[in-house]
């Protein structure tokens, strides 16, 4: 019984680690996106601002979704 509990704890920690790794990757892409949009904006090109914002918003939503996933696993692990 105890072994089963520790197995499921390890599994949920692995799932959380995976979700966190995905968030980190998405964040790196988003940081690159912001700096590229800023650079083109400062160079006088305004046409990249809208697609940049839409993609950045989608990345944020994906990160938020992954965060909710982490919350859920966390809550499950707290269940008696």
């Amino acid at each position: 019984m105890e072994q089963k509990t520790s197995q499921s704890a390890t599994r949920s920690v692995t799932a959380i680690d995976g979700a966190m790794a995905l968030i980190v990757i998405l964040l790196i892409v988003q940081i690159w996106l912001v700096s590229a949009t800023l650079e083109t904006y400062l160079a006088g090109h305004h046409e990249t601002a809208l697609p940049g914002t839409i993609i950045s918003g989608a990345i944020f939503l994906a990160c938020f979704g992954l965060y909710l996933f982490i919350e859920r696993i966390d809550a499950e692990s707290h269940k008696p």
Partner: protein
Amino acid sequence: MKLFRKPSREPLWRDEFSVFSGEEKYVSRRQFSKFLVLTSLGMFVGNLWILVRSWFSRQPSYPVMAITHVDEVPVRGVKLFQYPTPQEQCILLRTGTDTYVAYSQKCTHLSCAVFYSAATNRLECPCHNGAFSVHDGSPLQGPPRRPLPRVVLTRKGDVLVATGIQLEG
């Protein structure tokens, strides 16, 4: 659908600083991912700010300014001038008997001042060996990827007049 877990009846400090070492890894991971998501939100807000700025920025209006008398610059000669403000250095180049071009002197890589090299007939940047075409300001060599902003010139009698700036060559 339930988005967040139910707030526990435990006080927050107990939830976040659990005495059970097994729960510690959840807490630190949860905190860290919260921080990452907030950073992501910050990046999104940054993008939104750029979008709002670009919607509200108006097309700049440029002054009409006399630059020089046409005979003052010899063929393949240059003249430096400031346009549209006294802080912005530009370079005028006479490429033929009757042809003149002018560009911003600020390199599009990291803003060093470009100069005209008669030997290579290019505008060159000494900082990282960047080079631009004298015909359209397009980058020919080195790190610059964007053309030099071009000063729009018109001729009024014997005087060359700057009327605006064109960002793409």
